[in-house]
Amino acid sequence: MTRRRFILLAQAALGALATAAIATPIVGFLLAPLYEPRGRLVTRRLGPVSQLATDVPKRFVVDFPETGWTGRQDAYTVWVVKHADGLVQTFSNICTHMQCPVRYEQSIQQFECPCHGGFYNLHGVRVGGPPPKDLPEYLHTIVDGVVYISNQLNEVI
């Protein structure tokens, strides 16, 4: 190897080394949301099942902590439906299509997304429009007839 060829290779190697030294921590930092779980799991009390009318969704507004460092809580809507057979479902109002806020239309007894016209029935099953999945539910428990939910959905949307 000539001296010239050596210093050509060496400076390319030094450049690569310096680039890697800069890029590694930056890439690791940017990818953090994938391996460092963001947000923490909390449980919120909604209310007694006995106060729910059958097949009439009732809207609760609960505070869930923001991800990150602010310590703030954001309000989220939960649609709670008690079916005739006693089944209770706690729907998020996040549409599975583009995550717009879903509202309940009493006249058609369906949840409607105003963005692109997605429809879900009282069981959260998509019945019209573009949503690819059913309306997600927050995981809930019923203790002594009172509904509690956690900020965790039953499906990845």
Binding site: L30, L31, A32, P33, L34, R38, G39, R59, V61, E66, T67, G68, W69, T70, R72, D74, A75, Y76, T77, N93, H97, M98, Q99, C100, P101, V102, R103, Y104, P114, C115, H116, G117, R126, G129, P130, P131, P132, V156
Partner: protein, 411 residues
């Protein structure tokens, strides 16, 4: 007496002339000093003293207007940083404060918003103009390519900027737009989480998007503007096909001698084999400075005044603070997203990933235009293979925009 006054006046005039001469001499000496050390006169000569095609000069102002509006965005953007706080606790409040307690600041924000809207419009027109006149042909393929990248960067800046106010419009735009990449197969959800900095729109979404907006995209934009302008200087303005002698196929016989006299040696050959050099030289040329720069200045100044007018009269709206719990707010996309939004309404649910593929395929075709349409032909009526698809695409975008606007805003 009168003659004495006259001679005194004459003396004064002579003294003033001498002073002026001395001032000029010193300025020239200063210029010489600076030129010896920087070579700035070479730069001025290279950038200002070249020939441009005479006809269609008003059309070339679209490019300089785009540049002027980008300059306006960078300037107003820098000063908006003086008050904006990229945090979910304070972003909205800082802009609310700007709106209620800082009249000039509100105008600066208004100019940043309307400047962005006008910029998108002008860069679109600039794209259509360069396409219609086939300015992308050899040797200007890379002018086109860098221009396409600049278009994508401007779109990226527009959409990341829309997240930042953290009002209802910004929040729901942020939620929906960060959700679009989730439809990319396999890696999509991860891209969404990386952009958001977590599973949902939160503080990290705002800081990440802010960083992307003010530094990442902006610095890349400036670099590509440099490349775009250097390539423009290298190849010269192509102008429009009307500057050249009819169509290549249907050309009349060339009065070669007469035309050769018009050929300016400063012009690069206007290209595309197989054709002769006289053929590809503009019929008439004029000086870039001050002929073309005057038109550029007129259009750019007019647009900036329009932006100022819109900022003062209409201003930048700030809706209620972001509320994820809302069940009454109807998210509406920014107007430049309307075609995609309307497509989302029309597409059946098993076809959603089209929102990814259609823009992606469109972008690939846009980038590939110089290599698809390689013939020597410049006249848009002689290039149906690319012009007809382009017209169909433009009309589809306009139609989707109009249907979407009718659906959302009940026009």
């Amino acid at each position: 007496m009168p003659s004495g006054r006259r001679s005194r006046g004459g003396l004064l005039r002579r003294e003033m002339a001498a002073t002026r001469q001395e001032t000029t001499r010193r300025l020239v000496a200063l210029g010489d000093w600076l030129d010896e050390r920087t070579g700035y006169r070479w730069l001025l000569r290279e950038s200002l003293y070249h020939a441009v095609p005479t006809k269609g000069g008003w059309w070339y102002t679209l490019g300089s207007a785009t540049l002027a509006l980008i300059g306006l965005q960078i300037t107003t953007g820098i000063f908006l940083i003086f008050i904006y706080v990229p945090s979910t606790t304070e972003a909205w409040s800082s802009l609310e404060y700007l709106k209620t307690s800082d009249p000039f600041g509100a105008v600066v924000r208004g100019m940043h918003l309307w400047g962005a809207y006008l910029l998108l419009f002008m860069i679109g027109l600039h794209l259509v103009r360069t396409f219609m006149s086939a300015s992308y042909k050899r040797p200007r393929e890379l002018n086109w390519l860098t221009g396409c990248i600049l278009l994508l960067l401007v779109l990226g800046l527009s959409i990341t900027g829309a997240f930042l106010p953290d009002d209802q419009a910004a929040y729901w735009t942020g939620v929906v737009v960060t959700n679009i990449p989730a439809y990319i197969p396999v890696i999509g959800p991860y891209i969404r989480d990386l952009w958001r900095g977590g599973p949902s729109f939160g503080p990290e979404t705002l800081t990440r998007t802010y960083g992307i907006h003010i530094w990442l995209l902006a610095s890349v934009l400036i670099a590509f503007i440099g490349a775009h302008l250097l390539l423009l200087l290298k190849h010269g303005e192509f102008g429009s096909w009307v500057n050249y002698r009819g169509s290549w196929r249907t050309r009349p016989p060339l009065p070669t001698e007469e035309l050769a006299a018009q050929v300016r040696q400063t012009e690069p050959p206007y290209p595309t084999a197989p054709t002769d050099e006289e053929w590809s030289t503009p019929l008439e040329t004029t000086d870039f400075y001050p002929e073309q720069t005057f038109k550029d200045a007129l259009v750019s100044a007019f647009l900036i005044l329009v932006v100022l007018g819109l900022a003062v009269v209409v201003g930048a709206p700030l809706e209620d603070r972001a509320d994820p719990a809302t069940i009454t707010y109807v998210p509406t996309p920014e107007w430049f997203f309307l075609p995609l939004d309307q497509l989302l309404v029309l597409l059946p649910q098993w076809f959603i990933s089209v929102v990814i593929w259609l823009p992606l395929i469109g972008t690939v075709f846009l980038f590939a235009v110089p290599w698809i349409d390689r013939g020597p032909e410049r006249d848009p009526f002689e290039r149906p293979a690319v012009v007809i698809p382009a017209v169909i695409i433009i009309l589809s975008l306009l139609t989707l925009t109009m249907i979407g606007a009718g659906r959302l805003f009940t026009l």
